[in-house]
C-alpha cells in the first residue's frame, strides 16, 4: 500500500515539477527621460 502511495506521489512530483520551474527569469527595459 505504501509503495502504491509513493508511486503516486512520485508521479505527481514528475508532472508538477516542470510547471513550478516555469517563470520569468529576467527583464530588461530601455527607458527614456531618465536623468
Amino acid at each position: 500500500m505504501n509503495s502504491k502511495k509513493f508511486a503516486l506521489f512520485a508521479l505527481l512530483v514528475c508532472a508538477l515539477a516542470p510547471v513550478s520551474h516555469a517563470q520569468v527569469k529576467h527583464i530588461q527595459m530601455r527607458v527614456e527621460g531618465m536623468t
Binding site: P18, V19, A22, Q23, H26, R30, M34
Partner: protein, 134 residues
C-alpha cells in the same frame, strides 16, 4: 524609479544604468512578476519605457482562439506574436517540453510622444531567441 520597481511584488533586484538608459530586473526565485505592473511603475516614477524584453521559461500552448501562448505560471501567460521563430514553436504546443525564450514584450510606438504605455491591448510576446528546449 529603482525604489518604485523594487517595491513591486516578485522583484529581487533592480539595476539601473544611467549611461545607456537600461534597467535590469531580476525576479525572486519562483516569484511572479507582472510586466504590465512594472511598465506602470516605471511610468509612475516619471520616465517612459521605450522597450521591454523578457527571458522566460515555460510551456507552449494554444488559447481558446488557437493562438500560441507561452505559459510561465498557471495563472500567467503571454500571447506569442507570429514571426519566423514562433513558427518553430508551433509543434511544441501542448507538449510537456519546457522552453526558455527571450522576447520583446513591449515597444513604444514610433514617433509617439505620449509617455504612458497603452495598456488597453494585451502585451504580445515577440520571440527574439529560443535559448533552450528541455
Amino acid at each position: 524609479m529603482k525604489q518604485h520597481l523594487g517595491r513591486q511584488s516578485g522583484v529581487q533586484s533592480v539595476d539601473v544604468s544611467l549611461i545607456d538608459g537600461k534597467v535590469e530586473i531580476v525576479p525572486k526565485e519562483d516569484g511572479r512578476l507582472d510586466p504590465p505592473q512594472l511598465l506602470k511603475a516605471v511610468y509612475d516614477s516619471g520616465v517612459s519605457v521605450a522597450e521591454m524584453e523578457i527571458t522566460a521559461r515555460g510551456k507552449i500552448a494554444r488559447d481558446a482562439s488557437g493562438n500560441l501562448v507561452l505559459n510561465v505560471n498557471p495563472n500567467q501567460s503571454f500571447a506569442i506574436a507570429s514571426n519566423n521563430l514562433s513558427k518553430e514553436l508551433e509543434p511544441l504546443a501542448g507538449s510537456p517540453i519546457a522552453i526558455t525564450v527571450r522576447g520583446q514584450l513591449y515597444k513604444k510606438a514610433e514617433g509617439k510622444t505620449k509617455r504612458k504605455p497603452d495598456m488597453s491591448a494585451p502585451l504580445r510576446f515577440f520571440v527574439l531567441e529560443i535559448q533552450k528546449k528541455e
